[in-house]
């Protein structure tokens, strides 16, 4: 039986705690008697018969007719699926999307459906490469659909591929992929890594245009989302749920398939990363030392290559399908079952080790903007009820924060870093002054549509993602980061964790409480 999550109170006998530092790690000694470390629950067991469970779910949906009863010859069927941004790290083959899509296509074939399109729901993310698509959907599906043009990627900048469906009561424009909107049935194949994923966010975001993302991907909405992992207190989710209603009213028929995965995140020899430090065996300690020494001697590019080649052993723990909101309620419970850790009260200082990966740098570089987004956008938001850190507290991250960018994946990020952040780090101000210029830049648009580039506006969204965290915290410190880059982000660089605590004392005094969120593996702190 896997052990639940755990909050360790640090005392003098507590071994040093592992902190991620991008493509490396460090062991940090936290001050005793006022520090605690939150450990994620151990991975739940995976479902034994995954394919059988998928077929069973398709035949027994929630608040919906079985999938085979919704299929008929001559119908127009669209299967949309989550893109390369999850799961993280990419999962060992076969990917869950492949298993689910194959099962859906089997049902479609039995019903004689031959007008089938498969669409990667990119929103404004970068287009996936052929290899990434093959990894997600499998070679059989790829070879059957891609050559004829029936497997493709959503293009949020192609006006001929978009359908405007109306506005929400709050005046939010809803515009999604035309083929998906006009199909007799839209099947959405989702992977829920975190509680934020899924629900109406799948279709209303994944298949949307810039026009339809603006109403919720903005600083005001992000600051009012407390947190992204708690849909009932997330303005982002309220907005997408309103948009979902517009889809329903417009007659878009969605069959939602949501799956959850466990937190079995790292294979050997990196499995020591999942363990609690006082339980490290001699082999684990040797692996830690060997790995961190070797990584420190490698060029960053080589270390990146090693980490991005990791294929995680995580596996499916549940699958549910049918009506979007009913499905998502169950999915969220499954995610919470895996990830929720009860934590008593808030802390003065929240520490977090930023790893090599986030949803937006798969096979790429964790640039400074993504470091900010991972820390203040994702990790800060891994809570329910209250943030882990008190308002006016301090966040300390560890990451090299090199001013390195992947020019193919993140061209507009480079300009954002050089131009926008040089002007302002205020999400509201940059939204007013700069966003549209980037969103409508012809070159970025061209690269998004034809290359493998994130949309021109995407770095703004990453910055907005951290807006609530930025507003909530009095100071953000990055330990071990490139000083110039850290300052460009508007944060404070520190050489060591001790220096960082000293710097934080200006804000939180000399004996602050400290909480380390030891993630990955992913978890959600239920702060009571």
């Amino acid at each position: 039986m896997p052990r639940p999550g755990f909050v360790l109170d640090v005392d003098r006998s507590t071994p040093p705690t592992l902190f991620w530092r991008g493509e490396g790690f460090s062991l940090e000694k936290l001050p005793p008697d006022r520090s605690r470390v939150i450990y994620a629950p151990e991975p739940l067991p995976a479902i034994d018969d995954i394919d059988g469970t998928i077929r069973h779910a398709l035949d027994h949906p929630i608040d919906s007719d079985p999938l085979r009863e919704q299929m008929f010859a001559g119908m127009k069927l669209t299967v949309a699926f989550d893109d390369v941004s999850l799961p993280l790290p990419k999962m060992r083959r076969p990917d869950i999307r492949q298993r689910v899509i194959e099962a859906v296509l089997d049902v479609a074939a039995e019903a004689g459906v031959d007008d089938v399109h498969l669409i990667a729901a990119l929103a404004l993310h970068r287009r996936m490469t052929e290899g990434e698509l093959r990894h997600a959907v499998g070679n059989r599906v790829y070879d059957a659909f891609a050559p004829s043009g029936a497997l493709y990627q959503h293009d949020a900048e192609d006006p001929d591929q978009l359908a405007f469906l109306g506005q929400t009561a709050q005046g939010e424009d809803v515009e999604i992929n035309k083929r998906a909107a006009e199909s007799d049935l839209l099947v959405y194949v989702n992977i829920n890594m975190v509680a934020m994923d899924g629900g109406w966010k799948s279709t209303a975001v994944g298949l949307a245009s810039y026009r339809s993302l603006r109403p919720h991907h903005n600083p005001t909405t992000m600051e009012a989302s407390h947190s992204f992992m708690d849909q009932h207190r997330s303005e982002l989710h309220h907005s997408t749920w309103r948009m979902g209603q517009v889809l329903v009213d417009a007659g878009v028929k969605v069959f939602q398939i949501e799956s959850t995965i466990n937190t079995d995140t790292f294979p050997a020899p990196f499995d020591f990363l999942l363990k609690r430090e006082w339980e490290w065996s001699a082999k684990d300690r040797a692996m830690y030392l060997g790995t961190s020494k070797s990584l420190s001697k490698l060029p960053v590019s080589a270390a990146r290559k090693i980490f991005h080649s990791i294929e995680a052993p995580h596996q499916m723990t549940s699958i549910q399908c049918g009506e979007v909101e009913a499905v998502h309620r169950q999915t969220t419970e499954h995610v919470y079952r895996q990830q929720l850790v009860e934590v008593q009260g808030q802390t003065d200082i929240l520490t977090m080790g930023i790893p090599f990966i986030c949803p937006y740098n798969v096979h790429s570089i964790m640039n400074p903007i993504l470091v900010m987004c991972t820390g203040l956008g994702y990790f800060f938001n891994l809570y329910r009820n209250k943030p882990l850190v008190r308002e006016g507290g301090v966040v300390i991250m560890t990451h090299p924060t090199l001013p390195d960018f992947n020019p193919v994946h993140h061209p507009s990020y480079i300009d954002f870093y050089e131009q926008v952040l040089a002007d302002t780090t205020d999400p509201h101000e940059m939204s007013t002054t700069w966003e549209e210029r980037y969103a409508n830049d012809d070159w970025y648009r061209h690269l998004y549509r034809t290359s493998n580039a994130y949309h021109g506006v995407h770095p703004f969204y990453m910055w907005y993602w951290g807006a609530h965290g930025m507003k909530h915290c009095a100071k953000v410190i990055i330990v071990g980061g490139n000083a110039k880059a850290v300052r460009r982000l508007g944060f404070v660089p520190a050489s060591t964790m001790s220096d960082a605590f000293e710097m934080a004392s200006d804000v939180v005094g000399r004996s602050p409480t400290i909480t380390h969120l030891k993630t990955p593996p992913l978890m959600i702190a239920d702060v009571v």
Binding site: I414, D415, E418, Q419, D441, D442, W443, H446
Partner: protein, 389 residues
């Protein structure tokens, strides 16, 4: 020269010890004829072309238009025998050499035939500071022709006046850029300047003042240079390596390979290396103009892009008579004197040295950027003169 080149590679300023430069007493130059005057040096700047010469990097092109031995120093503020403060327009033009002017009121740098440079009353030499007959500003006294003298009000600070010559060079380049085929007809052309040493900043000052609508982007390597360009009023100042992206952001063009699909209407190269010229050509829009202000010497360049984009590659040497946007003409030096006062050019003079400390001075000038300096000069005034200035 070979030894100087090797020495300069070892350390900045090393060439000053082993190169062609000697610190020695020489005879005061004789007045070559009518219209010539003795000038007593007060301040004399160290220019990039002086450093090239000392370090043995100057092109052999100049071998026939200079005469040895010469006293360097062409950025000079001095005084005449009657105490009048003057700044020197160093080009030794038609009038100084006793030839008719190419057109009425021509400046020393005007004309389209350089035959006079090796003939006339004085030995060959393109400028004061490169001619054995005249002496130069790096000596206590030299001779200058009426056509070279610009009389200044006595209260003009020497520290400002010594910047007038480089300012004139920058303004000339600025107007060449602004009058190029792509920029001239445009109210708000994009004009980029790569390099923000003294000359780059001078060009920025010229553009801000004489092409005020231009959207001016400056690529500057060092923070103090970036601050100086900002202070002059540049629209966008970025680290030099980010200039292409900054121009693209203004133009909203695409990037094809490492060249901009469009780009700046005109670009001024204030560096003068193969890499800087290549970068400027990449960010100049098709049928735009690249102005070479930095002296390039012998460089290797792929000019395919220039051919394909029909880019104008234009040299910018010294100054002369300028055509302004309203159709009027003006002497570049007159514009520079005015601009120097407007911007308070004296703030660019970072340090001065006595002639005896020439090795330190040249070392400082050769490393000015990384040491946070802009202009280094020799100070030949006595203490009382310094105090009263």
């Amino acid at each position: 020269m070979g030894l100087a080149r090797i020495a300069s590679a070892i350390g900045p300023g090393a060439a000053a010890k082993v190169g062609p430069l000697d610190y020695a007493s020489v005879d005061v130059p004789k007045l070559p004829g009518v219209g010539w005057h003795r000038v007593r040096t007060r301040l004399s700047g160290i220019c990039g072309s002086d450093l090239s010469m000392i370090e043995g990097h100057a092109s052999t092109y100049f071998d026939d238009v200079v005469s040895f031995p010469f006293v360097p120093g062409h950025e000079v503020v001095g005084e005449l025998d009657d105490g009048t403060k003057v700044v020197i327009e160093p080009v030794l033009g038609h009038a100084a050499r006793g030839f008719p002017l190419p057109f009425p009121d021509a400046a020393p740098g005007d004309g389209d035939d350089y035959g006079h440079l090796t003939a006339g009353l004085i030995e060959p030499g393109i400028q004061t500071g490169f001619c054995c007959s005249t002496g130069g500003g790096w000596g206590p006294e030299f001779v200058a022709h009426d056509s070279q003298l610009h009389r200044l009000p006595p209260d003009t600070p020497d520290e400002r006046a010594v910047l007038i010559e480089p300012l004139a060079g920058g303004i000339h380049a600025a107007l060449l850029a602004a009058n190029g085929p792509a920029a001239a007809g445009h109210d708000a052309p994009i004009i980029a300047v790569l390099g923000a040493g003294t000359m780059g900043l001078a060009a920025v000052a010229g553009l801000v003042r004489y092409k005020p609508g231009a959207r001016l982007v400056v690529g500057a390597r060092y923070p103090h240079q970036q601050a100086a360009a900002h202070a002059l009023g540049a629209h966008d100042v970025v680290p030099a390596g980010e200039l292409a992206r900054a121009v693209r952001r203004l133009d909203h063009c695409r990037l094809i390979g490492d060249a901009l699909a469009g780009g700046a209407h005109a670009v001024i190269d204030a560096v003068g290396s193969a890499a800087s010229i290549a970068e400027c050509l990449r960010i100049t829009r098709p049928r735009g103009r690249t102005v070479l202000m930095g002296m390039p010497g012998e460089v290797t360049l792929d000019l395919t892009g220039l051919w394909h984009r029909e880019t104008e590659l234009v040299g910018s040497y010294t100054y002369g008579t300028e055509r302004l946007a309203d159709g009027s003409t003006a002497r570049t030096f007159a514009l520079a004197i005015d601009t120097a006062a407007t911007i308070g050019a004296e703030r660019w003079l970072s340090a001065t040295y006595a002639l005896a400390d020439h090795v330190d001075a040249i070392t400082h000038a050769a490393t000015a950027g990384r040491r946070g300096a802009i202009k280094i000069a020799f100070d030949l005034r006595n203490v009382a003169e310094r105090m009263s200035n």
